[in-house]
């Protein structure tokens, strides 16, 4: 480097860099700034040694501290699990009715069940468990297979018409397309309708009642209040799972639709299923 050159105008030493007669002044950074800068470099070296940092071909260096954000998440989840362990153990050892009777357990089970519901059940039953055409509303008091906590639990454990589970709840409504004439179907539908609403034609109701007793009462009952052992719906109430009105009733007689729910115990484990049962039972329709 050339000898020191001092700029005449400012009296400041230059760096020796020159472009077309323009020289760069050598104004040093403040001391504290420089030291902070050096400190950050030292820090960075220390950090690179202590923590995973340098990318290699297949993975990165591990760092002396062996830190990993994935392991941290895993340990946090393990901590949360450990914190819940007492409650989960008690839930595992209790029946659903015992859980509901214990305020601490039921509060925990309802919260956990609500979260499991959003992940596993909301796809069919909706986030508010209000269901939809063909998918039962779990808030109301109309239950196909029973609305006590224990019955809900059994339904969840084995599912409905789940061919994978030998103990699943199963029943089937036959098609009446070969057994009843279209006119007879109209009469039967008018009778069923008359149990809760005004039918379209009062003259159809009387013959319909006879046809109902002969063809339908075996499953749905003499009074059409259904049969929970068979999952046969109550036809005399205000709730219509497959659609309201005579046309919908006739459609169900011609080509019956059946709902299907998977068995959940094998997938979620008994504890989560119990929590789900307690949650569903708490929605307001539980018996």
């Amino acid at each position: 480097m050339a000898e020191k050159h001092v700029d005449e105008l400012s009296g400041v030493e230059t760096t020796g860099h020159e472009w077309d007669g323009i020289r760069e002044l050598n104004n040093p950074m403040p001391r504290w700034w420089v030291w902070t800068f050096y400190l950050t470099i030292i820090w960075a070296i220390g950090y690179a040694i202590a923590y995973p940092s340098i990318p290699l071909l297949t993975e990165s260096t591990k760092g002396l501290l062996g830190y990993s954000s994935r392991a941290e998440v895993a340990s946090e989840m393990a901590d949360a699990k450990a914190a819940q362990a007492g409650l989960l153990d008690r839930i595992a050892a209790s029946s659903v009715d015992q859980i509901i009777a214990d305020p601490e357990l039921s509060t925990f089970a309802i919260a956990a069940g609500a979260s499991a519901f959003k992940v596993n059940c909301a796809q069919c039953h909706g986030t508010g468990a209000a269901g939809g055409p063909g998918y039962p509303n779990l808030n109301d008091d109309d239950w196909l297979w029973g609305g006590s906590a224990d019955q809900i639990y059994t339904t969840l454990v084995h599912g409905i018409r789940d061919t994978q589970d030998p103990d699943t709840r199963v029943s089937e409504m036959p098609s009446f397309i070969d057994m009843l004439t279209p006119e007879q179907m109209k009469q039967t539908a008018a009778y069923v309708m008359s149990l809760s609403e005004t039918p379209s034609d009062a003259a159809l109701v009387e013959p319909g009642k006879q046809l109902f007793a002969e063809n339908c009462a075996a499953c749905h009952g003499e009074d059409a209040k259904g049969n929970r052992d068979l999952g046969a719906p109550n036809l005399s109430d205000a709730i219509w799972l497959k659609g309201k009105g005579e046309a919908a009733i006739i459609a169900q007689m011609r080509a019956p639709k059946h709902g299907m729910m998977p068995a959940w115990q094998a997938r979620l484990g008994d504890t989560t299923v119990k929590q789900l049962a307690v949650f569903v039972h708490s929605l307001g329709g539980g018996e």
Binding site: S106, G126, G128, A130, N137, D141, D237, I239, G285
Partner: protein, 523 residues
């Protein structure tokens, strides 16, 4: 042809200026200047006495308040002043504040703000000079410094002396005591946030939460650095208040004033000057006011940003005036308007001060001199501050006396909005929260008004439908209930009218009402 003509090297018509660039590199100073040490001398007098008293009271309040006990029964802590962050409660003697009542704290801050405006416009920077924590702790640190190192002259000598065992010992013990005060200050702070006796044991045995130790460490550092090392620099460079309060002061605000009209011309050789027939003021230029100043200024330069109006220069000067047998008050609290009137009296047309003009032939002050009149404190500006301050205060008291200790919050279920039951009736769900804001067990009657034919039931409680339930609520807590309201099929037309939830303490008749909606299918 050569068009170039040689320039006239010394043209006569070029004007030359006698000037220096203000910001030339040769005269430019560095932006940062090293702190010059200040060695304030101990002052004696009325204001010093008053400041000792203020220091005793403020430090006493700060260190002792967390230890005051206040019985609130078995369901609430017995510490008189407690900010319970974990439980989200603030206790102040007989007052308990829930988070939603935080406006009381906001109101107190508004009052503190207007109180500060009021005090500043009436008596100047009294806050800075007497009660600001920075001033109080610096005073405390100076007491320690004087006790160990001696008064001003001894300290200057010690500071200039080369390092020796004596100097080292004095410095180490001074800083050790300062750090101890810092730890005590940080330690006292944390007691406001937890039960003080329990926390003290935990802190000493190493069982307290890390946040307690971190807080002590931070406040120890700030107390030590601000009170011991930075002192007046905090006021002059860090604090925004000296700048803001300039807007609070006017010509009728009391400030510490050097009364030039009786002090000037100052002289150290009064006898000689009198003999020479020159005018002589009361100021003997002894610099007593300068040596006691903790801010390192000369009050005789007039009002200045650095002055915190601690009034120690008044004490120092009054002592000197007493010795000289002259009237006290060469430096005094005075308003700008009084000061200017007296200056006008003392000055001649050219602005030269002659103290004889303010004295009569017997050497006494003339009747024409203006003295501070208490009436000027009550002027539109201060009355307005007082009015707003009192208004907020009255508002807070009214709010405190009339506030609810029973609160009813209702959240209407939105998913699903309503549920159709098998008998055709419609059900709505509500989350009802009963806030029992006193530390006592109570039985609250939760009932519904309106919606004829409608019934309610509380999930998990007293099975069956009804329109009124007795609910036991936990002391000083929120009790959350899931409530279902059902309306029969034939009454759905009236659903749109809505209804009201009513929570009432049957014993005290305290009540709260919530106007609720009822959703039904719109056919």
């Amino acid at each position: 042809m050569n068009l170039y003509t040689a320039p006239d090297l010394e043209p006569a018509d070029v004007e030359r200026h006698d000037a220096q660039p203000v910001n030339s590199a040769k005269v430019r100073k560095p932006l940062y200047e090293k702190r010059k040490k200040i060695f304030p001398k101990r002052a004696n007098g009325r204001f010093r006495q008053f400041k000792w008293l203020v220091m005793l009271i403020t430090l006493g309040i700060y260190y002792l308040t967390p230890w005051i006990r206040w019985d609130r029964g078995p369901h609430a802590p017995d510490q008189a002043v407690l900010i319970d962050l974990a439980g989200r409660r603030f206790y102040f003697f007989f007052i308990e504040i829930w988070p939603q009542e935080f406006f009381f704290v906001a109101g107190l801050l508004v009052m503190a703000g207007f109180g500060l405006f009021l005090v500043t416009s009436a008596v100047g920077r009294a806050w800075c000079g007497y009660t600001c924590p920075q001033t109080v702790w610096v005073d405390l640190f100076l007491v320690v410094e004087r006790f160990i190192e001696g008064d001003r002259n001894a300290r200057i000598k010690l500071d200039a002396a080369p390092w020796s065992f004596d100097k080292l010992w004095k410095r180490v013990s001074k800083h050790a005591v300062w750090l101890f005060i810092g730890i005590a200050t940080g330690g006292a702070w944390i007691f406001y946030f937890a039960d003080a006796p329990t926390l003290l044991v935990n802190v000493l045995t190493g069982n307290a939460a890390p946040v307690a130790y971190i807080t002590i460490a931070i406040l120890t550092a700030t107390t030590y650095v601000f009170g011991g090392l930075m002192r007046e620099q905090v006021c002059t460079y860090m604090c925004p208040w000296p700048r803001i309060q300039a807007a609070m002061l006017d010509e009728n605000s009391l400030t510490v004033t050097y009364n030039d009209w009786r002090g000037e011309p100052r002289t150290k050789h009064a006898k000689k000057a009198v003999a020479a027939g020159a005018a002589v003021g009361d100021c003997v230029d002894c610099n007593a006011c300068v040596v006691v100043c903790p801010m390192g200024i000369d009050i005789r330069d007039g009002q200045q940003l650095e002055c915190i109006t601690c009034a120690l220069c008044i004490d120092a000067c009054d002592g000197v005036m007493d010795k000289l047998g002259r009237e006290r008050g060469l430096i005094s609290y005075a308003t700008l308007s009084d000061y200017e009137a007296n200056m006008a009296l003392a000055q001649d047309g050219a602005g030269v001060i002659d103290p004889k003009r303010v004295r009569d032939e017997n050497g006494r002050f003339t009747e024409k001199l203006r003295h501070f009149n208490w009436h000027v404190i009550f002027r539109p500006r201060t009355l307005l501050y007082m009015g707003v301050w009192a208004l907020v205060g009255i508002g807070l008291i009214v709010a405190l006396l009339s506030r609810d200790r029973l609160d009813l919050n209702v959240l209407h279920d939105r998913n699903p909005q309503f549920v159709l039951e098998s008998d055709g009736s419609v059900r709505n769900g509500y989350v009802v929260k009963l806030l029992n804001m006193i530390p006592e067990e109570r039985v609250i009657t939760l009932s519904m008004e309106g919606l004829p034919g409608g019934t309610m039931r509380i999930a998990g409680q007293a099975p069956g439908d009804g329109r009124s339930f007795a609910v036991p609520v936990t002391p000083d807590k929120v009790t959350t209930l899931k409530v279902f309201v059902t309306l029969g099929k034939d009454r759905l037309a009236e659903a749109a009218e809505g209804f009201r939830f009513l929570a009432e303490d049957t014993a005290s008749h305290e009540r709260d009402v919530y106007n609720a909606h009822f959703n039904a299918p719109g056919e």
